[in-house]
């Protein structure tokens, strides 16, 4: 068992999250992609914690999990708010703050 495999997995997961974030327009998928990227960083932190024989990395990963939970709550509340006001979960149709927006 070498740490290389974990590094490979973390980088691939991060990239999948990045691809989903760039190429999709569904707000839920954007949210889940951000979560996936954060989780990939979490995996990297845990791997480094094991490699360096230092529990500090695990503590940072634990704090990250709390931050992820806070981010999830805020993002989902924002999605509910957007859907309630505009009946859409398309990130391309969000133009409320644009100058001269039609459906304000």
């Amino acid at each position: 068992m070498t740490p290389e495999l974990f590094f490979l997995l973390a980088s691939i997961l991060f990239s999948i999250g990045l691809v989903g974030l760039v190429s999709r327009r569904n707000l839920f998928v954007l949210y889940m992609s951000i979560e996936l990227m954060l989780s990939a960083v979490n995996l990297l932190l845990a791997t480094f914690s094991k490699v360096l024989n230092d529990a500090d990395g695990s503590v940072i990963a634990l704090l990250m999990i709390a931050v992820i939970a806070a981010e999830a709550a805020l993002f989902l509340a924002m999605i509910v708010h957007i859907y309630r006001s505009g009946r859409t979960i398309d990130s391309d149709k969000l133009n409320k703050l644009r100058e001269g927006a039609q459906n304000a």
């Binding site: 991060f14 914690s49 999830a72």
Partner: protein
Amino acid sequence: MLEISIFTILALFMLGGSIAMITNRQTLFSAFGFLITMIGLGGMFALLDSRFLALAQIMVSVGAVVILSMLTILTVNAKNENLPYEPNKYKWMFFTALLVSPFTFLMYKSTSALYQSFSTMETISSKVLGKLLFSDWVLPFEIVSILLLTAMVGAVVIARKERRKKERRKSEERS
């Protein structure tokens, strides 16, 4: 040998789940892919000998975050015509993957060049983690608690129904 086979199975589940997450058109199916990925990540933490992290991952990410997002998806219940129209989804995905893949390779190479092997150590038990959390990391811990409180209040404020304008208008009409 056993560890490698477990790692392979978990990694395949995670990759499959994440790819299903970003490719599915139906939002609930991508949430299921996300759920599989999060459970696999918990298994990865267990494989890395950090027990408490695996437990926290299962409890918080799987038990709270994924379930909360699934509940939100079911509550929003966007019909097929409300979902975004993405005709060139796979083309975009292909080009983005092509663009991102060199950075993936670079990230993998640069991290794996740092350390070649795991240190032989005992598991990171919750005892060690708790002691660290309340001695060296007590300030970030408190900051995280404030952050969670702020996020809770903010989520309540953002997701609240905005009734005031209508009510005010109605009362003006009545008068």
